[in-house]
Symmetry: C2
Subunit: 163 residues, 2 copies
């Protein structure tokens, strides 16, 4: 691996890893591993290569790779006559992330509804004053939900073609 590629790779793993940590609530190590696989080829990356690049202990790598597999973010392939596993991002990983996001939007919509009901009942003055603002926000959530649903659909359709 060229020196400049490696430097760029490590820097991107930090940046992207942190982002994944925040967005998907994975441990720092799991996030870095996931980031590495996003930045790696289709051929997959071996356990040893992950360990070398991320510079963490065998046990931590093992645990975190298995978490990522369990959650469906990554998979691995094996090659005949080769005991190693070659890790790579799961085919549907981007759809998976969006589906999780969709759930969180639905959850937020439910909570916002309960807040509105509560304030309507117990703080009617506030509720009236905030009504328009609340409507704007509710509208925003609905449009966002719609956008995410459409994107999931588009991605699923694309995946079907790709075989």
């Amino acid at each position: 691996m060229s020196k400049s590629k490696n430097k760029e790779l490590l820097e991107l793993i930090e940046k992207l890893g942190f982002d994944i940590e925040e967005r998907l609530r994975l441990s720092p190590l799991a996030s870095r591993i996931y980031a590495l696989l996003i930045l790696s080829s289709y051929d997959g990356v071996t356990f040893e290569e992950v360990k070398e690049t991320i510079k963490a202990s065998k046990s931590s790598i093992s645990v975190n790779i298995n978490v990522l597999i369990q959650l469906g973010y990554i998979t691995f392939i094996t090659k005949p006559g080769d005991r190693k596993r070659y890790f790579k991002i799961a085919k549907y990983s981007s759809i998976l992330s969006l589906e999780i996001y969709l759930q969180s939007i639905d959850n937020e919509m439910k909570i916002v509804n309960r807040i509105n009901k509560f304030n309507q009942e117990y703080h009617p003055e506030k509720y009236i004053n905030e009504k328009s603002l609340g409507n704007i926000f509710q509208n925003y959530l609905e449009q966002k939900e719609q956008l995410v649903k459409e994107t999931i659909l588009k991605m699923s359709n694309f995946r079907k073609l790709d075989k």
Copy 2:
């Protein structure tokens, strides 16, 4: 405060608090305080009331209220001849949250661009295969950015009228 109101309030503080914790990355206590103020009247809530409702120590309440003030999520009013402060959500708190969210979308777009450049250069096969999927995602981010920007604008316009 009626028994059923209080029960509902406490339950909503838990639910909403957890949501705020995740979305705004505030400490559990700060999130609960913020949740309480979202569910309280315009008149504001005293330090003591916060303490009673949230059931945490004076010092923790103090620290976390000040964090929320610093970040701009809450403010307080004072009443003549009354040393107490009455805490309430800041007028622009919902816009503020959206602005922070907008920044995180912009950040994600930058990272996605760098990932694409990296994979294009070092894993061309993967890049070509993922291109359409990448376009769908990039499109999604752009639309989401647009939606958030519009919502901020709508809210700001509404706020101007309200005086």
